[in-house]
Symmetry: C2
DNA sequence: TCGCTGAACATTAACGTTAATGTTCGGTCG
DNA sequence: CGACCGAACATTAACGTTAATGTTCAGCGA
């Protein structure tokens, strides 16, 4: 497949007896070029199939017209959607996307920063692993505009977009309460990220407002796997095991609020094996509204994150940061998630909880 | 966030009173540099936080150490896994990943080729939209090594990796037959790609071998959406509607083989609404073994595609093509998918079909 | 002691593009 | 009619790196 050498501006200039600069200006539509010459150049470029070398272009312009996108795990449907929407909008603005997958690994994250710096990306959109903000501080030091996605690192002062997880946790919990739940358990991943802490805070606020207590054991943690296994369906599996521990309790909660819809899958399975029905024996509220969630049996009530909106805003924030223009838009944006009510909280009998 | 100018080799050379070339050689570990000087250079580079500019490096070396990855839809769990595994292996070989999402659009595909050429990628891994092979022919003409992923374009003669879809279709169908199915319907997307044609061919082969007829209406098509909607859960929804058409028939099939596990979701829902049980009233065989499939009710029997293996092979093929070395490995590789037997084909009664 | 050798560095060129500055020359205006 | 202007092009420099080629000079053998 080793083809012929690529044609350059110099080749075209040589065959037309013009200077390289004239050819460059002719093709890029700058003025100071005669119409006749411009047409000639364009025709010749077309004829030889000239493609500008954007590496050389990047070098002289100092910008690679490339965004670095650092994502933890594309197999998370939310991130998959983010990738799509960010890629689309970035491309519409003339930027390419350099993708890095960290798999929640701090080591890969550190390497990703190095790689972004080397590549002279024009900016980067990043889901930090978030154990430490140090790796990302370097980007700011060297002047690479950076937008934090879905997880913030407040001490860096970077722009960020994300979901209002506190509100999401609140709405999920409040909804369960409105449907008659009095004792509620939360199933969350055991990552040290604000995302999860915020959701739990929202849960506690809703419980407090309803005057409900949050006894020990109300927050259950699902172990995380990292690196290579990131793509495997470990999340439902792990949640399934944790759910079994929950279901062995003597007093079962009226509802379980889970950290993502994969957990709901594992929970559904465990409940089925215990002969328990959703929602009558236990209500389930998911998080994420994954593509399958509306089609589960019963369809899952869940908190929807507007991935497309978040992705678009991420790109817009980055473009603003690059252009240096201040905007009326706040530096930190929290998008309010919406609750999608489906059958998994549509309780018809209140046997145990309400007398 | 506009930081200080990046340090270059020249800066280091100036402060140490050395030539740029010496600094370059010292840092890249080439010989002809005194140990004392090398240590000095390294220390200074460390001190100022020197990061090599890989754009300049790419320009002089003629290679950007970057792979272009062109994917139709990251929200397809199979492609999501491919992205992860390809990114990991590419990075382990020192390559970055330039991601493009086509959303099954020929227009975006054509633009993607242009973008790859501009970026001087070292090679590309591509899931073609596959209406035409023309866009990709250009890559070969200009000498960009290209590996086709999951869908082949045989007339191009490029290396390719993919699933043996014929075998997958065959195994799914043969399995259903072995479980007592005599009349089987196939639900496939209406894309004009060989992937799907191959699966249907496998289906027909299995039916023929069992001496079963394939009456009209045995192959049902699920409409495709493109572009922006690629990320939305349209697949289960569309399959749900097609399934309703199927279930209105007077004579229902014993089993339905679907083109991907999302379709199984829609089918499950339709069946439930019609009061039909899986597998006793109808068996369902999926394709893809998506993360949720083992946790459906009942768990879905499905054909598993080894995404990680396919991704690794894609990178290996590309590396071979780049190094120009012939290998013992065949240019076209078809990985055999495996059938994962679960409850959706575990029929215990054969009420209607077998007397 | 002289010339040769090779280690250690310097200098120059090159990658392909864009930006800044020169040059030419036909036309125009005073 | 000559100076001037500006259109149309050419020339030069620059981006930051690597590769090819020069230069210096200490050490060595004859």
């Amino acid at each position: 497949m080793a083809g012929p050498r690529r044609h350059t501006l110099r080749d075209i200039a040589a065959t037309l007896n013009l200077s390289v600069n004239t050819v460059s200006r002719a093709l890029s539509g700058k003025d100071g070029i005669g119409e006749r010459t411009r047409a000639l150049v364009r025709a010749e470029a077309e004829r030889v199939g000239y493609v500008p070398n954007s590496v050389a272009r990047s070098l002289v312009l100092g910008s690679a017209m490339t965004f670095g996108l650092v994502i933890t795990n594309p197999s998370n449907p939310f991130y998959a959607q983010l990738i799509s929407s960010i890629e689309l909008r970035a491309r519409n603005h003339g930027y390419s996307l350099l993708l890095t997958v960290t798999g929640e690994s701090e080591e890969y994250e550190t390497r990703a920063v190095e790689s972004l710096l080397r590549s002279s990306v024009s900016g980067s959109i990043v889901v930090p692993v978030q154990a430490s903000s140090d790796p990302w501080r370097r980007l700011g030091t060297v002047g690479v505009p950076t937008v934090l996605l879905n997880r913030d690192l407040p001490d860096l002062g970077y722009r960020s977009v994300g979901t209002d997880n506190e509100l999401g946790g609140y709405r999920a919990t409040a909804h369960a309460i409105s449907r008659g739940a009095r004792s509620i358990v939360v199933l969350e991943e055991d990552l040290p990220i604000t995302t999860i802490a915020d959701r739990i805070a929202g849960f506690r606020r809703a419980m407090a407002e309803a005057g409900l207590s949050v006894p020990r054991g109300s927050i259950m943690r699902v172990p995380t796997r990292r690196h290579e296994q990131a793509a495997l369906p470990w999340q439902p599996q792990q949640a399934y095991q944790v759910a079994h521990r929950l279901l062995r309790r003597t007093r079962l909660p009226d509802a379980v609020v889970v950290g993502n819809d994969y957990f709901a899958l594992g929970l559904y399975r465990a409940l089925e094996e215990h002969g328990l029905k959703v929602p009558d024996d236990m209500m389930v509220i998911g998080f994420g509204d994954y593509p399958f969630s509306a089609f589960l049996s019963p369809p899952l009530t869940t908190v929807r994150l507007p991935a497309e909106e978040v992705g678009d805003i991420a790109v817009d924030l980055l473009l603003e940061e690059i252009s240096g223009g201040r905007s009326d838009r706040p530096l930190k944006q929290l998008i309010a998630p919406t609750l999608v009510e489906r059958e998994s909280t549509n309780r018809t009998t209140f046997a145990r909880t309400l007398v």
